[in-house]
Symmetry: C2
Subunit: 259 residues, 2 copies
DNA sequence: TATCGCTATATAGTTAACTTTATAGCGATT
DNA sequence: AATCGCTATAAAGTTAACTATATAGCGATA
């Protein structure tokens, strides 16, 4: 279940009131019926017997709060079947969920992904941000600042502390509390090289070693071992040099998973 | 699958080489065996017959590339069973995937969630950011800027255009291309009220109507109907007034789902 | 060396979801 | 009014995954 050569895939089953309601076969059938225009032709398309198809359709139509298929008996062509809006929506929902699940399976199979952290795991396969600097940590301190915002201190596994200035309403929206797992996001251009002093002072002020310079991208290493990506502003430093960097807490974005 | 009163839950089945490998019952059994220290006691705990448990364990141990349980026969206590590292990891992976799936199910049941957009759907239940302003749109234009960064123009459904300045490497990492679905994230403090002029000029410069003022939070409405959250800096405007706002493209973060 | 609780394995019955096959009934179209 | 292809329903056989029950074998421990 962990290495590359294996063919692991996820199947989604939706239970309604503790009983199976949707599974891959049923959803494929639903799609086939929608395409063919009748249960009998859809069953053929899906490669199952008419009886099984009809039983499935009957069960779904009865148990869903609204039918998924509207069935016409007799008349033109002998009758037919059509997806209702509800049916269409269920199909979309199911496909979306399957897609999400398959992404998760593929991403989390990698042995290097930590499975302890929900946030860490989810961020591997879901929304990726353009921020070069992404640090997983926990809320360490929550302080009201003068501006009316909250100053949130995040401590990483490595011990590095990063402060973020967040509006109170955002704090509430993310349900930030001590020990909550959060990710601090910092765009590279928000990392300021501070040549005026070589003293660390104030929040988010660190001394860092220059690891590499390429084009205008600067890679730094903090004493804690964490890497920091910055952009070169005025005079470029040299490789191996130690510089002082500063990050405005207002430029730090926090991300979390609401429980 | 759509309204509140229903009891919809997701079940995860993992297929290995087209055949069922892990399902909720098997994983519960694995956990029970780990807790009890033997297959027979674990089966009792999980409420299934010893035969079924043993068949499941045998199948999993044989088909996984490494056994999940190490079984000892005879000796102290007659033998016993223990989770291997691989078994432990599978269990964690499974729990994480189930958790993610359940979150997705709960979030996407809401009728108001658009099921057309993968990014829109995922962002509903996964990582939430502290940025108050979040706009779903598509990449409209990709232009190299003087700084060496890329200026990415995002157009929303409403027609609103937002520009973001992103490093080239981030562009590549997110695989940004024309028409790619992205989300623009802007912290409220990054929205600057520009009193010097009432002319819209340059990128990310909009005239906006003041909808509400509470404490230091400002809610604005753009002509396109989109809402914009800002922080009050110097002199607070009045409700109903029209103001000009400006957002530095470097302060705009983009998020996407890599395909 | 006998005991113990476990792994390891077999046999037979049960269940749920299928399968094939068959047939009744419907109602616009011809 | 006859036709047509569908929905609607039933009966009987198949399969996979269980159930319960039984038994052989193991090896540290007492």
């Amino acid at each position: 279940m962990a290495d590359s050569g294996m063919n692991l895939e996820a199947q989604l089953i939706l239970n309604l009131d503790q009983k199976m309601f949707a599974n891959p076969r049923r959803m494929a059938l639903l799609a086939a019926i929608a395409e063919a225009g009748s249960v009998s032709q859809g069953a053929k398309l899906a490669g199952i017997s008419y009886k099984a198809a009809w039983d499935a359709v009957k069960d779904m139509n009865q148990r869903a709060e609204e039918p998924l298929l509207s069935l016409a008996v007799g008349g033109k062509g002998g009758g037919g079947a059509e997806l209702t809006d509800m049916g269409e929506r269920l199909l979309k929902l199911y496909r979306l969920l399957s897609d999400i699940q398959q992404r998760a399976v593929v991403a989390l199979q990698d042995r290097s992904v930590p499975l302890e952290s929900l946030l860490g795991a989810i961020s591997q396969f879901s929304v990726q941000s353009s921020a070069r600097n992404q640090y997983l940590g926990r809320v360490d301190q929550l302080m009201p600042a003068d501006s009316g915002d909250m100053l949130v201190s995040v401590v990483l596994e490595s011990g590095l502390k990063i402060s973020a200035s967040i509006t109170r309403s955002s704090c509430e929206r993310l349900q930030l509390a001590l020990q909550r797992e959060v990710m601090a996001l910092i765009k590279a251009p928000a990392v300021i090289l501070d040549s005026s002093t070589d003293q660390e002072a104030g929040p988010n002020c660190y001394s860092a070693e220059v690891i590499s310079i390429y084009d205008q991208d600067l890679v730094l290493r903090l004493p804690t071992g964490d890497m920091l990506y910055a952009r070169i502003s005025a005079q470029p430093p040299e490789k191996g040099q130690t510089v002082v960097v500063r990050i405005d807490p207002a430029q730090v974005m926090l991300a979390a998973i609401t429980p």
